[in-house]
Symmetry: C2
Subunit: 255 residues, 2 copies
């Protein structure tokens, strides 16, 4: 096959993160790679876009070689700017990550990693978000392989309009992986609150803390699948309509 696929790589941990270095390396074996990533950490930004400030796009070099563009915005900004304005040709595929930490269950809606892929999907390009489900001891060896397998499958099959893939990878060596499982977004929530503290000037401030409520027991959910050492692949979309509730709501009298 002659065609070299054009692959746009972004993330939310920032352009200098281990995860995007791994994802770029993995994609270089499949196609031509273009990196547009936030110039600094952007976790938990949700699907934020920057409308009230201009963005800067700066070339970023690693060990003296051109690596990609650092954008002074959110993950969604990076993808929107790259595709609509900065790249000379439209990419065939957009990949985001590899995130340092899980983006499963309720975290999907807070996730900058997913938001980069969502923006790609809005722009009509097949897109995938990748996350490694640990916050410590990152080893991206197997994640890179998974990223290649799933990216190749998406390039082969395409994705329906409005649908992206959200991939979560367990932090274990390949020999412990049980397979790739198609999953649903889980229902686990954060059980969080704000710690009240007092600053050196005696003024109070609040800092978010908490733990994930792992109430999930559905084996087909993203959370349980990765806990059971499956790679979790969830197809997600951004039609948020709660169709099941439409009929009930029609019965309400508004007065």
């Amino acid at each position: 096959m002659d065609k070299r696929f054009k692959i746009l790589v972004s993330n939310d941990d920032g352009i200098y993160s281990e995860g995007i270095i791994a994802l770029r390396e993995a994609m270089l074996e499949i196609g031509e790679v273009f990196v547009y990533a936030p110039h600094k950490q952007q976790s938990a930004v949700g699907h934020a876009i920057t409308t009230h400030l201009p963005l800067r796009v700066n070339p970023y070099y690693m060990n003296g070689e051109f690596f990609g563009y650092a954008v002074t915005g959110t993950p969604a900004d990076c993808v929107k700017l790259a595709v609509t304005t900065h790249m000379q040709e439209r990419p065939d595929l957009i990949v985001s990550g590899i995130n340092h930490g899980s983006n499963a269950a309720i975290n999907v809606i807070y996730s900058g990693t997913v938001s980069a892929a969502t923006e790609g999907t809005i722009l009509g390009i097949p897109s995938i978000a990748f996350s490694l489900t640990t916050y410590i001891d990152f080893d991206f060896t197997y994640s890179k392989k998974v990223a290649q397998i799933i990216a190749s499958a998406v390039l082969k099959h395409g994705l329906p309009p409005g649908i992206l893939l959200n991939v979560n990878i367990p932090p274990v060596p390949e020999e412990q992986i049980k397979g790739i499982k198609i999953t649903k977004q889980g229902r686990s929530r954060w059980n969080d609150y704000f710690e009240k503290r007092v600053d050196p000037q005696g003024r109070e401030y609040f800092w978010l803390t908490g733990t994930m409520d792992n109430i999930e027991d559905d084996e087909d959910s993203d959370v349980v699948a990765t806990k059971n050492n499956y790679v979790s692949v969830t197809p997600i979309h951004f039609d948020l309509t709660a169709y099941d509730f439409l009929k009930e709501l029609e019965k309400w009298e508004f007065k």
Copy 2:
């Protein structure tokens, strides 16, 4: 009925905006009102939460009277902080808005207004987002009435777990309103790009601009309903799983 409902009011335009003043006034006729809103404009922040910085909560006074709390965070932060930590009792209802501008179709996923209500729903409290679909000449007279009608209906019926209401109100006088319509999230997208400019120092920067692609013709969509002078009420949820695509995806071979 003795009970005074406790109503939490938030928004994304900031605590000093006309829209939240209108919404607070409307809710005062239904119950006891608690305002927690961003200290400054937070439009298009999506479902961002602040994890890497502490938050400040400052009492805000208007014309010498206590109005509510200004929070140095996002709309989702305001709601999470109020409910989990700062309020003495759980609210019975959370309302967000009234936004200056539409939050229909694709804008739902960028919307800070919707995100405040989404956070309320995650916390298990019935929540509603209100938006007035104009960017100029705000008259909240009829919007306040709509907010009372819909808030009362939600307090009466409740909402199923995980579902919130997204309400868009046309910017016309009450006599031109055709009714309240239950709708689906529309499919219109932004047709946007970044204008390339040069700063006084000769460095280039990029600024987002664009127009909404009004490709919508479904009369049951939020966009068309408000265009036809109906108040649009869309039930939305945050299970993003694309269920229709699960079976197809199961057939893919990953190798």
